[in-house]
Symmetry: C2
Subunit: 329 residues, 2 copies
């Protein structure tokens, strides 16, 4: 059942203008054409209300000017921000985005890669978690926050540096005993370096620290247990917390407040990501902010670059500290 609304084609325009089909194509694509021919064609296009049909071009050239972006969702504000900046970067280059939500489902990650190939997208940008995901060789592919191999460019924030920055900032704000908490897949991806950077800086500065890391399948209450085990006489042993994400930091802060601990007076908290209220207002918590726009730009230039072989296999972009009211500075 073909749609009946297909309008005039280049052939119609050619007939109307009294020129050859090829000439119409050349005019439409802005190639060199004699002035009077160009004018005749343009006039015919206007008369007929001709509209370019991308399907024909896609079939002929096998290029769709479309990039697939595979991501868990847009409910998480960090992902929403990524979607935004990647789409803006693509648009600037006259590319469209095909958005694929995996909802953290391993099978869907695989399925979407297949689907993207089927749709002949010109490249794939993916933020995935499936440990055994296999990357197609025949299509430009870049990943965010996760290293696969030297042949698959990975773009990420400087997670290690960010972890170290958080430790230094807590120390600078007067903390004497700190902890790092995170929850996440067992997968060793770039964000897991936040922990390593934090530890490294704590050791270097001689700042006492503890680590509490949960797997995805563990309950949040484990964190409450951990913290309550460190409560003595209404006081928490730690005066500074570095939390893996802003979202988790927010949840932890709620627990602290429930226990009548003041933030930042009693406990200072630094998150990670740089989430802002309503996307553009103040930071939700003091945080190590990811350079989302730069990440997006880099993903796009990389996936669109002619030969991926000349591209670095891991690109780390600098983070920065942002005050959000949960630290003393």
């Amino acid at each position: 059942m073909p749609k009946e609304r297909s309008g005039p084609t280049m052939a119609d325009v050619a007939r109307e203008a009294g020129v050859a089909l090829g000439t119409v194509s050349r005019v439409v694509n802005g190639e060199q054409v004699g002035d009077e021919f160009r004018e005749k064609v343009n006039a015919a296009i206007r008369r007929l209300g001709y509209r370019y049909n991308n399907s024909g071009r896609a079939l002929r050239t096998d290029r769709t000017n479309t990039i697939a972006f595979i991501i868990p969702n847009t409910i998480n504000p960090y992902f929403a921000l990524l979607v935004h900046h990647i789409n803006v970067a693509l648009e600037k280059r006259n590319y469209r985005m095909m958005l694929c939500f995996t909802d953290y489902d391993k099978d869907r990650e695989i399925e979407f890669i297949r689907m993207a190939q089927q749709n002949r997208v010109d490249g794939i940008i993916a933020l995935t978690y499936n440990p055994s995901l296999s990357i197609p060789e025949d299509i430009p592919f870049v990943t965010i926050d996760r290293f696969f191999s030297v042949s698959v460019p990975c773009i990420a924030a400087d997670n290690f540096g960010g972890g170290a920055l958080a430790a230094r900032k807590l120390k600078e704000c007067g903390c004497r005993n700190v902890a790092f908490m995170r929850i996440g897949s067992a997968l060793t991806n770039e964000p897991s370096k936040r922990r390593d950077g934090f530890i490294s800086a704590c050791v270097e500065m001689g700042l006492p620290f503890e680590i509490k890391a949960l797997e995805d399948n563990q309950s949040f209450s484990e964190f409450e247990n951990f913290l309550s085990g460190h409560m003595h006489g209404g006081k928490l042993d730690f005066d500074g917390l570095f939390i893996g994400t802003d979202s988790l930091a927010w949840s932890i802060i709620k627990v602290l407040k429930k226990w009548n601990l003041r933030v930042p007076e009693d406990v200072q908290v630094i998150g990670f990501d740089g989430i802002r209220m309503f996307g553009d207002q103040e930071c939700v918590v003091s945080t190590i902010a990811q350079p989302v726009q730069e990440i997006a730009e880099t993903c796009v230039t990389t996936v669109l670059s002619r030969d991926l072989s000349s591209v670095p296999s891991l690109i780390c972009l600098p983070v920065r500290y942002e005050f959000g009211g949960t630290t003393k500075g």
Copy 2:
């Protein structure tokens, strides 16, 4: 410059399987085919690693299984939520989403409609502001929150009912003098009915109220002026505020707190939209929550429905009150 990576085609599969091209097509599309033929074809597909090419089909059938979604951005969490649920609804029906950000730019709204037509999308879902936007006739088009004409289905929350609900809720929570504040385009769209519903309910209940509405180009400080004009002896004349959006409500609450007014003890605040922290945690403010998922589902079923003529021209979906800590209940 064609991409060189085009793999095997249906013709290759047909040759490999020793059947006709049409048979391959029928197998791939799940049509009735003899069992032994089907098996031969499937085997050949596996042997060759054949992958379906959507471009050919799109050209042939003039259907792309793609819907364009035109929206200002995904930075605003309400828009991000819409994107999420619309994409999920589309995916369920095996449709893809082409995401278009207008950044509130009138020209880009027009440009994207043209671009979507060019890409032969099967329909457009749009949330726009350009007062003189003209809707294409030859492509299924549904709009969110804005009524164009009876021939263009509009999906929206029950904004009028939501406004009334907010007024009743404030009254129920003990408010005796309330105000409504909003900022937004002069465009009379569905969300402007929040005000009307609020007024209607206030009048009905005999609840004294004031209205302060700003145009897009006016500064937020106008609100501060308005409120400070209603401060007497460190107390605000109003004990309840209904604000056009959660985002604005948040900004207003910051002002109130700056003036040492307690929320909800001194002033209760209700927003609109139903934004949650990090998309899935508690509500940011007490609010009239939009039924985002239902809106998304309805948009998708409507834009994909065979004949738009049998579809209502305005569909209002019920809202509900959600507690978010800025009211007494």
